[in-house]
Assembly symmetry: C2
Homo-oligomer: 264 residues x 2
Amino acid sequence: MCVNGTGETVRARTSGTEASAPPAPPAGQRPVGYRRVADLSHVVSPSMPTFDPEKPRREAVDPPLADGAFGFFQQRWTLLEHTGTHLDAPGHVVGGGRLVPDIRPEELVVPVAVIDIRDRARQDPDTVVTVDDLLAHEQRHGPIPSGAAVLMHSGWSRHWERGDEAVRGVAADDSWHFPGFGPEACEFLVSRRAVTGVGVDTLSTDPGASSDFPAHEVIGRADRWGLEALTGLDRIPPTGATLMVGVFPGEDASGGPSRVLALW
Amino acid sequence: MCVNGTGETVRARTSGTEASAPPAPPAGQRPVGYRRVADLSHVVSPSMPTFDPEKPRREAVDPPLADGAFGFFQQRWTLLEHTGTHLDAPGHVVGGGRLVPDIRPEELVVPVAVIDIRDRARQDPDTVVTVDDLLAHEQRHGPIPSGAAVLMHSGWSRHWERGDEAVRGVAADDSWHFPGFGPEACEFLVSRRAVTGVGVDTLSTDPGASSDFPAHEVIGRADRWGLEALTGLDRIPPTGATLMVGVFPGEDASGGPSRVLALW
């Protein structure tokens, strides 16, 4: 099988060279096994909530097709790399850090741990994921696997259809309020749990009230990725799923819109 | 386990409703098992080969960060939905056909069959995948699994770095020449093998010389997707891998740039 005794997945880096014969699965190896697939990505649209004021734009470049007619229809998009459900590469926040094309394929297919802070987030929009939350998760669900993506499940994606003001948690004084990761939890995850990345169901890895973005800094300086604006975290189990991060492979990209799927 | 006796993967559609408790993996179920991950996507850049004359554009919207400095860097992209490694939704070619957000998550994670026509394509750039090619593949590697993505491996992606003229196979009379799927093979795959989609390592599902695009029409009218401009097909086995299609989830999108990963 493909998993060792500690639950750590054994993965081989595929090289960019043209191999003469691809490695075939060993005789008797079963196809990749899973029962369920969930989509953790928002649809990207000009009216969607965003962290930046700039919204994605789209325009039809071919005429719409009449019902049942054969022809060609497509749109043109203009958008920032950090739009919708998206990945932050280390180079988004740290000069000289890795950009999207530098991220290896095996960093895009990883085990998941979902940290549920919904109860607290309902009371306090400024709450953050703490080291205690991570230890409580491990107590209940077992160790966070090496190489995991650790996802904050604050329940915040339920606000998505209500637009920017609700998703940003704009207060009377124009300050923003939504949950995120505390820097100590990020430090713990990169130094003690060897995570591949972290993810949130809000607009930013740091909480909305942050002005110095320490979670971004810890994650970026540790050469890990972040995923922002996830949805559907209530549909996947707290442990045992595999995440596939389909990040747009842009040249020199600091990040990119991502189709994120979970299998389990 | 998750695979029945015929190698057909059993998948459950996840609903869009907010479930109170996500289904946990049954006790003793192993995490999704795989040994290798390969990236089958080209990097998207303004100089990349394209079918349409329009190239993707990118511009930095934040100043580049000094080495080791903490800050924010990102780019803005303007691009057509059918740029780089990308998916064609049925509605790209058939009026009223499904668009990207209509494609279900379980249609984006599928078993793969790779049809190797490299020898013939080296001699004849106008060659197409035939029903005989599909039967010969099955003779050698076993039945194409139900729900599979069937990928043409013509070796054409080796021309990618040489630019438009090489990838389009432009002849002295300006006609285009690269391999593709024949319509009979597409008809066979949708009606006799229940495929989820087809893919090619060229710029189009139809061969470059086509002017009426019958492979597009058969696939689109059958409500299946196509993947174009794949790369790295020499790195994955002819059968036994699972494809993950990370297509950009654009509103009303006829298709989209896709991060395509294979696991096996």
